[in-house]
Amino acid sequence: MTKEGKMIIPLTEGLYTLPSSPYEKPQLIGSKCINCEELFFPKKEKRLCIHCQQMTLEEVKLSRQGKIASFTIVLQPPAGGFYHGPVPYAYGYVDLPEGVRVETQFTGDFNALEIGGDVELVIEKLYEDAEGNEFVTYKFKLLKEQE
């Protein structure tokens, strides 16, 4: 994908589906165990279920909406030089209705975040490199703030 010659690059491949038309919306990709029904995000590369130890994991697309389980506004830059996004940022957990908790950043008005709040998946820029290429990631945003 390009925008005026600049690249739009997923921060990490394989975490969510890339829509092929404007009518399609992205979804997180997880794993579901067909033996014990346990769910995982992100998708496990191996088929081994770490709950029941059977080779029974299958790829599954996860719900786009869920509820905030917890969140924090981080004001201290992460160690190690791996993170190039803005600080402060909102980081926490979202519970999806099928029964899996997802670790995520939140976007939108941080002051409006609350435990139990209804959120929806969005794909958004995390940062831009020196050439203007955009690195994008999944995030969650309060439903009431969606256009």
């Binding site: 921060l11 924090t72 506004i73 992460p78 190690g80 997802v102 950043q105």
Partner: protein, 386 residues
Amino acid sequence: MRPLNEMREVVIGGVGITKWGFYENAEWYDFGSEAILAALKNAEMEWKDIQAAFCGSVYQGTGSGHQAIKEIGLTGIPIVNVENACSSCASAFRLAYQMVAAEIYDIVLAVGMEKMPRGPIPSTAFRPWELKLGFNVQPANYANIAVQYMKKTGATIEDFSMVTVKNRRHGALNPNARFQKPVTLEEVMNSRLVATPLRLLHCCPLADGAAAFILCSKNKLKSKYKVITVAASTLTSGIYGEGYPPADLIPSLKYPPAMSLTELSAKQAYEVAGCGPADINVVQAYDTMAPAELWDLEELGFCKPGEAPHLLREGVFDLNGKIPVNTDGGLMSRGHPLGATAGGQIYEIVLQLRGQAGPRQVKDAKVGLAHAMGAGPNSAVTILKC
């Protein structure tokens, strides 16, 4: 599997510690060997009496225990290096205890030592995609647990701050602590925000330091101090479905565990020791972040879920309270040299049971408990009795 409490009784032969703080002109093998020599002197034993050594550290690299022991003199004994995150020294202590209990050796050294890396320390628990999303900020990991705890129990940020105030007040009486100056509630509440709602003074400081223990069978005991028995030393390293953000563990919503890692290790320890929380006179809880001390005390069984903030305000966890907690100032005052931290906790229990804790002495302490958590995750519970 033979229960450890049916094996030989293991006692504390001697203990040693160094001042915790930043050693700019010394390495871990310098102050590590200093702690070992202090323990040896305290035990009134000779170096050649030691039959095996278990050496805990996290960041010192290959053969870190050998380096410390080389400073004293190699004697051909087995030296085993133990890296188990913040439970490293408790894990080394446990191995030494098991060796003596099982009658494999009579006198064994356990030491924990750490010179913390300078500058930011990237966690090894997180995957590359998570590092790129900034999930590896430890106070933020704890903040996510803290906000859920607040929601569930009604605990406030002031409750968390009171933990720091209490521990720093205790630490002011500990000459080995990094911080020996008390802080006020206002100072904690006005310190820099790190990850909402947690502030800088809700986070334990780092430090360098070491602590050493000589464990032995009762017939090998030389010192004339009060005899202290290792009543339990348990280690549990993770259970399915429990969330622990500092170790990048997300809870399973479908298969939550029947009990937490801390509850499991405490249950095992109480069973082996033949006692319960009501029998414990002094506690070293795991206060790597201030709020963690509160849910730690609940999970260790000292009160019901959600009761700890209330008891803290009542002074139950003060030096003269019913259940004195972190009598040496805890991680908040000692500082946190990862591989030595659990050793600092056990050392304090030994002083308290021997009646050698000076101005911070708890009256008539007979049974003490130390709990170390850590990335991994690990949960190590040590119970000592006199």
